[in-house]
């Protein structure tokens, strides 16, 4: 079956612009995660959705970051007024329920802020 997909695969933007990243999880997976991976770093947890609800938004780096999930499916991560330090690979993963389940990762969106 189809895996997790993310779009765009690459995004180059100018400092100060807004960007929107999209994640399509595996159908039926209720849990969805967003991570950020900077060069040489591990994955940094950003936000978790269970269905359409995000019980913990504490991982979002600043109020410039927001995320939503609709219909228990597609999720979008929005970064407003991008800064150079936002440059990273943004990964989305989904799992059937929660933390003990295997997380299935998308290919990521590489964001470059000039």
């Amino acid at each position: 079956g189809a895996g997790v997909s993310q779009s765009p695969s690459n995004k180059v933007t100018e400092k100060g612009k807004d960007v929107e990243l999209r994640c399509d999880p595996i159908s039926g997976h209720t849990a969805l995660y967003w991570y950020r991976q900077s060069l040489g770093q591990g994955l940094e947890f950003l936000i978790y959705f269970q269905g359409n609800s995000a019980p913990d938004k504490s991982g979002l780096p600043s109020d410039r970051f927001s995320a939503e999930r609709t219909g228990g499916s597609v999720s979008t991560l929005t970064i407003q007024r991008t800064q150079q330090e936002d440059s990273a690979v943004y990964l989305c993963a989904s799992s059937p329920r929660g933390v003990t389940d295997t997380q299935y990762f998308g290919p990521g969106t590489r964001l470059t802020v000039l």
Binding site: G3, V4, A31, Y35, G40, Q41, G42, L43, E44, F45, Y48, Q50, P55, D56, G59, L91, A93, G98, V99, T100, T102, Q103, Y104, F105, G106, P107, G108
Partner: protein
């Protein structure tokens, strides 16, 4: 704060030699432990996980890991590596019922 340490950023090893990738974590509570692998130009995928029971966990592609609670470690091993094992390996530990903390990754470099 809870953390995961992968001491080696790169591990070079000859083909058909054994390998151990180290992972230590800091946590005072029961945890679930994971190893994920990222092959070149591919997404992350689960290699193995420890939830409970036997402390020796077997995963895909001949890898295994041993949970050591007293040493708070979850080292990954393979008795004989192949060129196709070239990848970056990430250790992760649960810190809540939904959140994982990830190590910085270890690049396994196979020398012919």
């Amino acid at each position: 704060a809870q953390s995961v340490t992968q001491l080696d950023s790169q591990v070079p090893v000859f083909e058909e030699a054994p390998v151990e990738l180290r992972c230590n974590y800091s946590s005072s509570v029961s945890v679930y432990l994971f190893w994920y692998v990222q092959y070149p130009n591919q997404g992350l995928q689960l290699l193995l996980k420890y939830l409970s029971g036997s402390t020796l966990v077997k995963g895909i592609n001949g890898f295994e890991a041993e949970f050591n609670k007293s040493q708070t470690s979850f080292h990954l091993r393979k008795p004989s590596v192949h060129i196709s094992d070239t990848a970056e390996y990430f250790c992760a530990v649960s810190v809540s019922n939904y959140q994982l903390i990830w190590g910085a990754g270890t690049k396994l470099i196979i020398k012919p």
